[in-house]
Amino acid sequence: MHADPSGLAHSLSPVDLPEPAMPLEHPLRWTSIVIVVATVTLASLNAHALRSWTYELAPGASAARAVAAAETWHDLTGRFGLNRPAETVRNGWQGLKARRFETQVSPAAPSSRSARAYSSSASG
């Protein structure tokens, strides 16, 4: 058994942390700033996700306006190079996923049962 001086092992909830000796002030303001900054960071660096989301909206006049605004925003952030970090991570991750062990010849071709199911789900 390890000692648990923090008392975490006896907490009722994962969010019950031992409080520091000096109280941390303005918790709601602190939390709200965290959320706003995270949102702005994502809106600036992940315009691609915003654009994809607008294309999934139910078709209509407001969806068309949302798509146009998201496209404009994507172009604007792209002009400043802000889309590059996400693209770099995505490409790097895809490259990693494409790797195979040396003994593997190629990605497995789906069997007839799999192929039927996947083609029908794709067409659906």
Binding site: L12, S13, V15, L17, E19, I35, W53, S114
Partner: protein, 468 residues
């Protein structure tokens, strides 16, 4: 509306702003959260919001009737029985009606009755098992005088509160109602831990669980005959990691979202695959359900108070019913039976183990328990009993692997290593975060979500436990 989507992100921003904007008026804040929760649930199927409201009303009403019958034990018991019957009727109709009729029809056909029964297609409301168990525990706790009676608003919010509504954790009235009564408060510790849990949950769900699901598990379990033993083995381990990362991610995000609104939800997972026995596994896996089953099923069935035979029967009944709780399927029954058999065997072994026999090293116990759990996951995941048997047969048929890639192997190893990492690692990170300036934490959280979002596969599969 799934947690790891932009739609939910926008919904949560509005709820966060509205809830804290109404901080001065406690009752209006709860009404706002209630309406937001109904909107959240209505995004799946608006009709089931009525079911949710009806369920809350009837559980609240039954509790009031039990309270009004104070001093008349028989009447109290009758109201309790009515409350339980009502909850079981909801579960029975939505989860087991179709299964029961199909099985009945098969039996009648065997007896020479050739007419078809009118089998109605019943749509399963998302999370019905969770909110029904929640309502039932409130009625039982009121009967046992283990919780204070809740007002109608608090009771309805308890059952409808969107962070835990569709896949738990099962938050009991005694835990959440007192929080609803107080003015909500948030500390920087709660907020930092909430944000850490949300980001960590997103990673576990959208990267580990989704990649394993789409890249390995789904295809191999769909057609096991097309794959060699190594691929099948990788798919079993992959599913063990997937279901843990999927389900614990939902719990993490639920706890984190509730924390940002000023509420504390209980622990639901504690590194389950490091358990040295199946009994210990159930103290670490889906803790809110296992403690529910212990308190409302195993103990009333006798528990350990009436001798070994009764204990084994109570264990077996609890696990079989726990299996059926997941859904109407023979595979879930077999899953429950397997769990029951091993739990009973463990108990008997502890009772009758010859003196002087050595105790197995912890490592071996962990390995053995993990593989028992993996074996039961095959029945849990396979579409039918025949598929599960075909899968098990394939495991010993030989053949290499063409499906497992280095990345998938890495994700399986990462998912397993989480169970052996120092406990409370995330809490320690949160304790550092809370002392940092808010813009720095916000920027770091934004970057972390960006990385996770860039790695995730296209689209988001629903959480596995939504179907329960």
């Amino acid at each position: 509306m799934l947690f790891p989507t932009l739609s939910f992100g926008i919904f949560f921003l509005i709820v966060y702003a509205g809830a804290w904007g109404l901080k001065a008026s406690h009752e209006w804040r709860k009404i706002f959260l209630l309406v937001a929760s109904w909107f959240f649930y209505g995004c799946w199927d608006a009709r089931f919001v009525l079911l949710l409201i009806a369920s809350a009303l009837l559980n609240w009403g039954t509790a009031r009737l039990i309270l009004a019958a104070e001093g008349r034990p028989a009447l109290r018991k009758a109201w309790l029985a009515a409350g339980i019957a009502f909850n079981l009727a909801i579960l029975g109709f939505f989860k087991y009606y179709g299964f029961f009729l199909v099985e009945l029809e098969a039996v009648l056909h065997q007896l020479g009755w050739q007419r078809d029964l009118a089998i109605m297609q019943v749509i399963l409301p998302v999370g019905v098992s969770f909110f029904t168990f929640q309502g039932m525990s409130y009625v039982i706790d009121i009967y046992r005088r283990q919780t204070e009676p809740a007002g109608l608003l608090d009771m309805t919010l308890l059952m409808s509160f969107f962070p835990h509504l569709v896949a738990g954790p099962i938050v009991r009235a005694s835990h959440l109602i007192p929080q609803f009564r107080r003015a909500p408060e948030i500390s920087r510790s709660m907020a930092a831990m909430g944000i850490a849990l949300i980001v960590w949950g997103l990673f576990k769900k959208t990267v580990i669980a989704s990649e394993l699901s789409t890249g390995l598990v789904d295809e191999v379990f769909f057609d096991p005959a097309a794959y060699g033993s190594l691929d099948l083995l990788a798919a079993v381990y992959g599913y063990a990691v997937q279901i843990y990362c999927d389900f614990s991610a939902y719990s993490d995000m639920a706890v984190g979202l509730a924390a940002l609104l000023g509420y504390r939800f209980p622990h639901n997972f504690n590194q389950p695959y490091r358990a040295r026995s199946l009994q210990e596994f159930w103290r670490r896996w889906h803790i809110s359900l296992s403690s529910w089953l212990r308190d409302y099923l195993y103990v009333p069935l006798g528990g350990s108070r009436h001798g070994l035979q009764r204990l084994c029967l109570a264990l077996a009944a609890t696990m079989l019913l726990g299996g059926l709780w997941h859904g109407a399927s023979w595979n879930f029954v077999i899953w429950g039976a397997l769990q029951a058999a091993v739990l009973v065997a463990e108990r008997l072994w502890r009772e009758f183990k010859p003196r002087g026999w050595p105790t197995l090293p912890d490592g071996l116990c962990i390995l053995f328990t993990f593989h028992i759990v993996c074996l039961s996951w095959i029945f849990f995941r396979a579409a039918s009993f025949a598929d599960a048997l075909a899968f098990l047969g394939g495991l010993f048929a030989g053949g290499g692997s063409n499906k497992l890639t280095p990345t998938l192997l890495g994700l399986i190893l990462l998912g397993m290593s989480l169970h052996f990492a120092p406990r409370f690692s995330l809490q320690r990170i949160a304790m550092r975060l809370r002392a940092l300036p808010a813009p720095a934490v916000g920027f770091a959280a934004g970057l972390a979500i960006l990385v996770v979002d860039s790695m995730r596969p296209e689209g988001v599969a629903p959480f596995i436990y939504y179907q329960f």
